[in-house]
Structure formats: structure tokens, C-alpha cells
Symmetry: C2
Subunit: 218 residues, 2 copies
């Protein structure tokens, strides 16, 4: 019982920090997207390819969350956009206090789109509001079409689902209509994009979705 | 600070239950293996194929852990071995109290090998002793060769690493030697098996490893 109480306090405290992130980003007209997925679903590669396409037209920044290593921030830095790495040192999700700290350390002047790449974990990050406008769940075709049913909360709290690695479909028993039906059972309002970050297939509608929501470079 | 105290208490309590599981299984000569991985790495398919090969020679039972649904237990039940499904209802890992409860509900007479399929999560389950003899980490080639560095604790506490989905290697940028080097950096004592649960490739050495550790059927 005491654990539940403390968990509630932690979430309440988190919600206060999330509100501060939200207020800051509203004031500066920044769209914030929180990317959730299993380890190895392709979050960082999706970000690399998305940044390469969008950065000439939109000012973008990235917060990288990882249990360990700054490898992802190093990869993103090559795209010449502002990036901060949060290493959780074993922690299984980002929280809003960490994000607020990162935001306060970044030069976000002119930035209109902020990606937060969460820790690779399809369970824990779903419970934490980071002040984002949308949670985006990424599911790789290699993970199987049953994932929405087995990890429902992440699909329930997300607004967009990127189905990544569609280039592998010929080699897998992944049933796209079954995945879509499973995901819609959990969340009928999900917007889907079927993509391959590796080959670039299907990225255009996703980029268009992003661009329709943010102010372009002047 | 209070949170840390309570977390310690939870882990201490967990260790007591793990000791009870361990004592029970020692008394009944049961080898217990705790399978850890990301969602969709192929844990259940590996179990299905392993059971199909080994069940005529060894008495096996399975505990299935999932955030939601009993789909995996239904799949395992088709192999006609004793199986119990633990649904954590949002919980991100199994703990020893849940396993002790499951063990007490199963008919394990004659069983010599007990698999515990943990919740799909490469972070949280690594911190919980379930009374197992070995933790087995499963990494799918589709997840990328950097995973040991990014999720080090799970690789550090495991004794065996199954590299699954090697049938996909021709279609991926997965560098096997790089993965092995990364994993050995974290844990030089890991034993590796490169397998494809789907095609059956590489399963023989893994099956031999299991059979060498358990008493066969009389």
C-alpha cells in the first residue's frame, strides 16, 4: 500500500514537471513528440532519416534517452541538429524532470519540433507524461503482429504508430492486416504509417504529417 | 530516499521468495531457466521448438509471464507440457513471489526442467532473482548488434545468450562478430548459441547444452 502511495506521489511530481515542459514548449511554439518502442525497433534510424529529410525546412532538436552509452546522440549529432543525451544508468524510462533538465540545457531558439527518443522499453515509458503533444509508438515487423495485444498500454496512449522494417516483410510471418486489427482493438484512433527507415520506403506521408503540424523555417 | 528504502525492501522480500523457489527446485531436482529479452525477439517460438525436440527425453514445464493476454500459454499448451500463465496486468517484470505462487499451483512431479518466460523487457527483469539457475538472454538479429552495450545489465547477469533469427542475416546490417565482441565486453563468460527458431538452424548445440544439465526421463 505504501508503495502505491509513493508511486502516486512520483507520478504527481512527474506531472508537475511535464506541465513545465509543456508550458515552455507552448510559449516557444515547439511541437514535442515522444518516441516509444522495444529495443531495436529502429527509433534512431527513423530519426536519422526523418531529420535528413526535414531539417532544411524545419528547425528540429532531439533528446536521446538510453539506459547506457551516448551512441545514439553521437549518431544524431552527425545530422547537425541540437541533441542532448540522457543516460538513465539502469532506469527503464525517461521522466519529465529529466526532460525539463535537458530542455533547460539546450539552445532551442527557433526550434519548432522536438523529438524525445525514450528508452527502448514497450512497458514502462507509457506511464510517464513528458510534456509531449503526441506519443508515437514504433513497432518493427520483426517483433510480430501480436504486440499491440501483449503490450496494450503503449498502444493505448499513443496517437501515431509507425510500423517499421516493412522491407523485411517477404522474410517474416508478419500479417499487416492482423497487426492493424490488433492495434485498432486497443486504440481505434491510432494513425498508422508503414515505413522502412532503412530503404526510405513509405517515409513521405510521415514527413508530410510532421510538416503539416509545425511552422517551417523563415 | 524513502523510495530507495522501499525498493530495497521489495528486493529483499523478492530474494526470500526466490530462495523458496530455489529450495523447492533443488529438492525436486529441477533446473530452472529464466528467459529474458525485448518484446518480439522470439522467446515463445524458441520455447515451442525447444519443447518439441526435448519433451520426449526430458520432463519439462513452463511458466509464461506477460503484461497482458494468455496467448503464449495457449501456444505452449499445444506442446502438451504443464504450463501456467502469469499476467502482470501492466507490471514490467516477473518477481519471485509470482513464480513461487505459480510453482505451487503446478503439478511438477517428475519435471526436471522448468522454463520461465519473463515479460518482454530488456531492462527491468534483470534486477529480479526468480530462483533460477541461469538467466538466458535472447537477442534477435533484427534488433541490431549494439544491444549489449545499450542494455548491459541483462547481458551481465545472464549465463547464456541465444542470438535468434539468424535466417534474417542476409537482409540486415547485423554484424555477428561486432555483437559477440560487444557482449563479451559486458560479460566475458557468456555462452553463445546462434539459432533460428523459425528454420531450426543451430538448435542442436542449444538442445545438447540443455540435455547435458538435466536428468533424462526414466
Amino acid at each position: 500500500m505504501s508503495v502505491i502511495t509513493i508511486e502516486r506521489k512520483i507520478l504527481k511530481k512527474n506531472d508537475q514537471f511535464a506541465m513545465e515542459v509543456r508550458d515552455f514548449c507552448a510559449k516557444h511554439n515547439i511541437l514535442v513528440l515522444n518516441l516509444l518502442s522495444s529495443p531495436g525497433s529502429g527509433k534512431t534510424t527513423i530519426l536519422e532519416k526523418t531529420l535528413a529529410r526535414i531539417k532544411t525546412r524545419v528547425n528540429v532538436a532531439v533528446i536521446e534517452g538510453d539506459v547506457q552509452t551516448d551512441q545514439d546522440a553521437v549518431r544524431i549529432a552527425r545530422q547537425n541538429v541540437p541533441v542532448v543525451q540522457i543516460v538513465t544508468n539502469g532506469g527503464c524510462h525517461l521522466d519529465a524532470a529529466l526532460v525539463l533538465d535537458a530542455v533547460s540545457k539546450m539552445d532551442l531558439s527557433g526550434v519548432r519540433l522536438l523529438f524525445i527518443e525514450n528508452v527502448g522499453n514497450l512497458v514502462c515509458p507509457s506511464g510517464f507524461d513528458l510534456g509531449e503533444h503526441h506519443k508515437i509508438v514504433i513497432a518493427s515487423t520483426a517483433e510480430g503482429d501480436d504486440k499491440p495485444l501483449k503490450y496494450p498500454k503503449t498502444f493505448r496512449v499513443s496517437d501515431v504508430c509507425l510500423i517499421n522494417k516493412i522491407d523485411l516483410l517477404p522474410y517474416l510471418n508478419f500479417d499487416v492486416p492482423a497487426f492493424l486489427a490488433n492495434a485498432k482493438k486497443i486504440n481505434p484512433d491510432l494513425t498508422f504509417f508503414q515505413i522502412s527507415a532503412q530503404s526510405g520506403e513509405g517515409l513521405d506521408p510521415w514527413i508530410a504529417w510532421l510538416e503539416s503540424r509545425v511552422e517551417p523555417k523563415q
